[in-house]
Symmetry: C2
Subunit: 313 residues, 2 copies
DNA sequence: GATTTTTAATAGGGTAAAGCTATTAATACG
DNA sequence: CGTATTAATAGCTTTACCCTATTAAAAATC
């Protein structure tokens, strides 16, 4: 069976056209080299080199084989460096899911940090809602998710955002004069909401809040993403509850007012399929030797950690 | 040092995800396979497979390495078949030189035969005159030449054409009435000739013939190739001596007449750098083990041989 | 929950082959 | 004709590849 050794030896001889010097280059002795080349020729059934006691020349088939052999060798080299870089996590792919709000808060900063540090990790981004992300993560369709807890799937998570919702309303709205608002004041307003499926949890929190204030909200429109909601607010269609960080996207004709009540909180967590033994229920104490998680995922999580540190300072 | 064996073994395990079955496929025993995979991982410094006593899974770097390893293996396969086909002469390159007359006589038929039989041998054709071909052949710039003997370079040759020259003259020419012509009748004609450099030997033969007839020809024009010469004959510029096979390219307004004298003969020989030991003067008796000539060249010469047989029958 | 089955890892040993040194044979060069 | 160069040959050592037998651990089954 032909081995890379044969190719390495042949390439050395074919390039130097000298068994002695080639052997020296290879760190072996000349008789060994002669023997191995002969073996290679026997294995192939082809004379690659013409040699007298004095001269070594490539035959025509030998010339062709040299080209191919060198390609195989160089591709082997790249395969080695590739797998090593992949093990470091500096090369690879990472598929990331995110919900709309992530795109307007934590995602850009984190991605920026990661891309700068690991430019050769190919990121494939996919916007999808929390439940979809859960199942995609479990099915190994996604490696990281930016989604809204709580979730019940057995996944690791790390909270990266928790901010209150604020009321967005037209600046000519009667309530715009007040610095804070109570839910009861909103009882007769038209609401612009995101579709329930997009964030079932937050949706029901909002509904509960309304119920506590004694009303069931009149829903003018269900849209997504949040900037569109604010656009509709500016258009006077209704008022909206949006996450606090949307205030940074200032838009003429729209003002934001905090709620007096303890508001629902928009939470974002980075989520991934933890290092489980292999799908079996992970008992906290006995973690056994685990499937090593993808190095690029590991690096991504480290970047997220660092980003959290950075933000706190 | 990583060997193809490692890649073969790894690919088998990575595809079956089962050491036992993979070992069976490979025709080795399972402990050996386990050992070799571990060796590979140590050599790379990368864990390629996650394995428990029960489950085998590819790690992320392992997945990438599998792709590369399979590519290396398949390229090795093609390298082997390529070199074997090259040794048979069914794959390769062949650079062929030819003179103008070859193109209108033997070359098309021979090339056709060869192409049909060896479609994967890439032919590169180059028109150049006899002396140029000689030096190109010696410099290994050409592998085969279709040229006009005699030559003095130490090259092998095989005559493939020997035909008389005939006189081409306008059909309204006074001499066109005669069925054969003598040189003396041409003494006062304007001659259309090929440039001396294109075929120095034939050129001087023609000159000698004129001298024997007691005149030095008046040269109206020196052009090449032969169809152009005949075109000029049709235009009434003069008469020309062309090889007999040009008669098959009939052209209105031109007639061909044989010469009474022993005409100069247009000879074409297939020429190649013979199997010399390596450039040293080849003593006929003691040929020693020779550099094997390019397989595609060998095949080409065989086709030429067959073509000669074919033509004789 | 004990037992059987499955499957990768470990242990120990034999052998093919990859490697070494020393020498030979053939060629080129002075 | 002698000397230098260089690939091939001969004989030997050692590496490592592969084998069989066994173990250990996890899953499946009764």
């Amino acid at each position: 069976m032909i081995e890379l050794r044969h190719l390495r030896y042949f390439a050395a001889v074919a390039q130097t056209l000298h068994f002695g010097r080639a052997a020296e280059q290879l760190g072996i002795t000349q008789p060994v080299l002669s023997d191995q080349i002969r073996r290679l020729e026997t294995l192939l059934g082809v004379q690659l080199l013409y040699r007298t006691k004095r001269v070594v020349l490539l035959t025509e088939p030998g010339r062709m084989f040299l080209t191919d052999a060198m390609r195989v060798l160089s591709q082997t080299e790249t395969a080695i460096t590739t797998v090593q870089r992949a093990a470091q996590g500096t090369l690879g792919q990472l598929s990331i899911g995110y919900t709309g709000p992530a795109l307007y808060t934590v995602l850009p900063e984190i991605l920026r940090l990661f891309r700068d540090r690991y430019p050769d990790v190919e990121l494939s981004l996919r916007e999808c809602c929390t439940p979809e992300q859960e199942s995609a993560l479990l099915a190994d369709d996604l490696q990281v998710g930016f989604l809204h807890p709580p979730i019940d799937a057995p996944l690791q998570q790390l909270e990266v955002l928790c901010e209150p919702m604020v009321v967005a309303l037209p600046d000519d709205h009667p309530l715009a004069n007040q610095s804070t608002l109570s839910m009861q004041q909103l009882a007769n307003e038209s609401f612009i909401l995101f579709p329930q499926a997009v964030g079932p949890n937050l949706y029901s929190q909002i509904m509960m809040l309304c119920a506590q204030a004694g009303f069931s909200p009149h829903i003018a429109q269900e849209v997504t993403p949040q900037p569109t909601m604010i656009g509709l607010v500016a258009a006077g269609i209704g008022i909206a509850l949006v996450s606090a960080s949307m205030q940074s996207i200032s838009r003429p004709g729209v003002v934001y007012r905090p709620l007096q009540e303890e508001t629902p909180l928009l939470k974002l967590a980075v989520t991934w399929k933890g290092a489980s033994s292999h799908g079996s229920s992970t008992k906290p104490g006995q973690q056994s030797k685990a499937m090593p998680e993808s190095p690029s995922l590991r690096n991504f999580l480290q970047v997220v950690d660092e980003w959290i540190q950075l933000r706190c300072s």
